[in-house]
């Protein structure tokens, strides 16, 4: 955390430097909104989280600027209609997919539904290796292959479909910051629990991950994946964390999200954005997935507004209005 603060401070300075006027203006706007963000704090945890947010926003504003310009460029070049045979690829939904991949896949599916872009879901045992970035899910549209939510959002925007068009720059930056928070906290926590908690890794992750392969390749690939994730955890500084600390991080992250959502319909009031798709993807998957214990799901279930948010999105976009609770639907989540 300290390290991050240092880094951002120096970046903040750079942004204020008058040589780059565009970024300068943005940070002025941002500074004026800072009290607004900070004023919504109501507990210590929330205070920390919102500070965390602010720092992200600082970084993200300048990036958003770049992204916007890039996407405008893409918009002008690629304006083909959305083809009917667009396909989303993910690992085998019944016996193979893991919590984190399922969450990411659900987030992308939700996003595309929110954009009203039809996509066929195809389950492949080798989806991870088919993906150009090595991460699932990915979509195959026309002759293009795009993986992960961020690039997919960019891609659809280039095709003229966007959910965040109505947001102003600050809101967009804030949205990106929260998305970053979900990716850095929830996704990392999911990966940690899957691969660094020995019980989960042994009983759930390794058998599921390697289910399409025959002996001895199944063991080789599962351990190779576990080793790779653990190395990544060490690189982001999660290697030394205990399971309890990770649960605590998840709680904090949910706290921040819950606070930001408040009593609104979606994170940015009445209109869904990619952030809503991402949060729904992760929260819904966490509460509907049975791991070795329920600790993770229980932590998330403490936030009732997030639960009703999930239920709302589920009903609106996955069309099951009769269901009494979101968690009763297991079909999308891994059954283990």
């Amino acid at each position: 955390m300290m390290h991050r603060v240092e880094g951002n401070r120096s970046l903040g300075k750079a942004a204020v430097a008058p040589s780059n006027t565009a970024v300068y203006e943005k940070s002025v706007v941002l500074n004026s909104t800072l009290p607004a963000i900070q004023s919504c704090k109501c507990s210590d945890v929330a205070h920390v989280m919102s500070r965390y947010m602010v720092l992200y926003i600082n970084v993200r504003v300048s990036l958003a600027n770049v992204c916007l310009r890039k996407s405008l460029h893409m918009l002008s070049t690629a304006a083909e209609p959305w083809p009917e045979n667009a396909t989303l690829y993910q690992p085998l939904s019944e016996e193979q997919i893991l919590l984190s991949d399922n969450a990411s896949s659900l987030a992308v599916q939700t996003y595309l539904r929110m954009c009203n872009l039809p996509v066929r879901v195809s389950c492949r045992a080798n989806a991870e290796f088919m993906s150009p970035s090595g991460k699932v899910p990915f979509i195959h549209v026309g002759n293009q292959v795009v993986s992960e939510l961020g690039p997919i959002v960019q891609f659809t925007r280039a095709k003229g479909h966007s959910l965040s068009e109505g947001l102003d720059d600050v809101q967009r930056a804030e949205m990106k910051a929260y998305m970053e928070l979900v990716n850095n906290m929830l996704l990392t926590a999911e990966l940690y629990i899957q691969w660094c908690d020995d019980t989960t890794a042994t009983e759930v992750s390794r058998p599921r991950y390697s289910s399409p392969y025959s002996w001895p390749l199944n063991h080789i690939l599962a351990y190779q994946k576990q080793w790779e994730v653990r190395r990544k955890m060490n690189a982001v500084g999660w290697g030394g964390k205990s399971l309890e600390q990770v649960y605590e991080d998840v709680s904090q992250c949910c706290q921040a999200l819950s606070q930001r959502l408040g009593t609104q319909l979606y994170f940015f009031n009445k209109q869904p954005t990619e952030l809503d798709a991402l949060v729904y993807g992760h929260i819904f998957t966490i509460i509907t997935t049975q791991l070795t214990n329920n600790e993770l799901a229980e932590r998330v279930q403490n936030f009732s507004n997030l639960l009703s948010f999930c239920k709302r999105i589920d009903q609106t976009y996955f069309g099951k209005p009769d269901e009494s609770s979101a968690s009763s639907r297991h079909s999308k989540g891994p059954s283990l």
């Binding site: 080798n126 290796f129 150009p132 195959h140 292959v145 025959s214 002996w215 390749l217 690939l221």
Partner: protein, 469 residues
């Protein structure tokens, strides 16, 4: 007296360590031998002792089989002939640097008046030999380290290890070879390897890590190989722009296969034969011993050579193969057949015939190819008897086809499919023999019967190959 004769006559032709003795050379030596025969023919001798000197780690029992025949010699010429054969057999084992033969009259108390002693003076290869080299290719460099342990356990066992460390990939291979004492051709090999291949014609990258065991043995005129191979294959796209059909094949798979190869080779040379035939039949059954890939693969190669007018050679070859997936799963891109290139169907790009997707060739499940060649020595025969003999000019006519089969349609439909849209080409060029394993060709080709999607090489085509049509 016998001694004098023997020593003065000592060298029957001895070719050093070159095991692939040229038959032409042997024939050339015959008359000389005949003239000496007059003097010594009638003298009966008994080989009393055969000694091998200079042995270090080699076990003597292992060599006994190789030299036993020398005892059967009845006269001096026989002794020399058989000693020479024994020397070749010893050299063939690949464990001696040098073998010299010494024939002398027997000495000592039990010496017979017509008794002879034969002594083989051998120099063993070093216990460990190593090599090191660097290679620079397209945008990549690599360092290759090789270690060889000949005769590791004293009975002809050989351990080789090769490690290549490159800027893009590393590969290694470890192999253990063990011949059966007395029957060098019956041998067993165990391999452990990792190899990486890039196939730009398919936009495919393949990394194989595997174990294989191999049993070689001769049976009448043919040579057989039984092999089991377990290989973990990792396929990936060579570039982001790879077609989706190739992308779909990405990922890991395990192939465990049993294969059998039978080869009958009566050719006088493997690369530029003048006469003789080659028949090679290879069959591979994957899936019954585990793994994800299940298929039956058959591959046949036939080549006939016969001398023609003015030192030229007429050669005909035919290849054919079929891959039958078992268990309803489609075949893998790495198992299918490919056709085309400077040493197969000439005039077409490397492996660039048949089914393709966005310019990436996907291979086929059945193929055939045939070739007709007329090889002649270089015009005006420059460098005759030396360097010039490595070259030939040739005129060729190639044809072939590669396609996928729908097994519901029956054999007649398959044959029809293979018979329509035949690719063929003709042309002329120069062939260069590289050692006894490969050849280089520079050809002018005229491709015909080109189908849409095929990549052609109209005009000059250059390439090297181990297997050639």
């Amino acid at each position: 007296m016998g001694t004098v004769h023997a020593r003065s006559l000592d060298p029957l032709p001895m070719h050093g360590r070159d095991l692939g003795v040229n038959h032409d050379d042997m024939e050339g030596m015959e008359p000389e031998q005949a003239t000496k025969q007059e003097i010594l023919e009638n003298r009966n001798v008994v080989v009393q002792h055969v000694n091998i000197e200079g042995l270090g780690r080699t076990k003597e029992d292992y060599l006994g089989y190789e030299i036993a025949d020398v005892f059967n010699a009845k006269n001096l010429i026989d002794v020399m002939k058989k000693s020479h054969d024994a020397r070749m057999r010893l050299l063939r084992l690949g464990i001696f640097k040098e073998v010299e033969v010494l024939i002398d009259v027997s000495e000592g108390s039990d010496a017979l008046p017509n008794g002879l002693d034969v002594t083989f003076e051998v120099t063993e290869l070093k216990r460990l030999t190593g090599s090191y080299n660097t290679m620079v290719g397209n945008n990549e460099g690599s360092m290759v380290l090789g270690v060889k342990l000949p005769n590791a356990l004293g009975r002809g066992e050989k351990v080789t290890f090769q490690f290549s460390y490159g800027t893009k990939e590393t590969s290694y291979g470890l192999s253990f070879f063990k011949p059966q004492p007395g029957h060098f051709e019956r041998n067993f090999t165990l391999n452990l390897y990792k190899v990486t291949g890039q196939f730009p014609w398919s936009s495919l990258k393949e990394t194989d890590r595997g174990v294989s065991t191999e049993l070689n043995f001769p049976l009448w005129m043919s040579m057989h190989t039984l092999k089991w191979e377990g290989v973990w294959r990792e396929l990936g796209c060579l570039a982001r722009s790879a077609s989706f059909a190739v992308r779909e094949e990405s990922g890991h798979s395990l192939k465990s296969s049993l294969s059998h190869t039978m080869a009958i080779d009566t050719r006088n040379s493997a690369i530029l034969p003048r006469r003789g035939a080659l028949l090679r039949i290879n069959q591979e059954l994957a899936g019954y011993t585990g793994g994800d890939a299940s298929f039956l693969k058959e591959d046949v190669e036939l080549q006939l050579n016969r001398p023609f007018l003015f030192g030229s050679v007429l050669s005909a070859s035919l290849w054919g193969g079929m891959l039958v997936p078992i268990g309803g799963k489609p075949s893998c891109i790495a198992d299918r057949f490919y056709l085309g290139g400077p040493t197969s169907v000439r005039g077409f790009g490397m492996y660039s015939i048949g089914p393709q997707s966005e310019g990436d060739y996907l291979g086929g499940e059945a193929y055939w190819a045939g070739g007709l060649h007329l090889y002649t020595p270089l015009p005006f025969r420059p460098g005759r008897g030396g360097f010039g003999d490595l070259f030939r000019t040739h005129f060729f006519l190639n044809a072939g086809n590669l396609c996928n089969l729908n097994y519901g349609e029956g054999p007649r439909a398959h044959l029809q499919k293979l018979a329509e849209c035949i690719r063929w080409s003709y042309g002329a060029g120069i062939v260069l023999r590289l050692g006894n394993i490969a050849r280089l060709e520079l050809n002018y080709c005229i491709p015909m019967g080109v189908q849409s999607g095929d990549r052609i090489c109209d005009g000059v085509q250059f390439g090297a190959g181990i297997r050639f049509l």
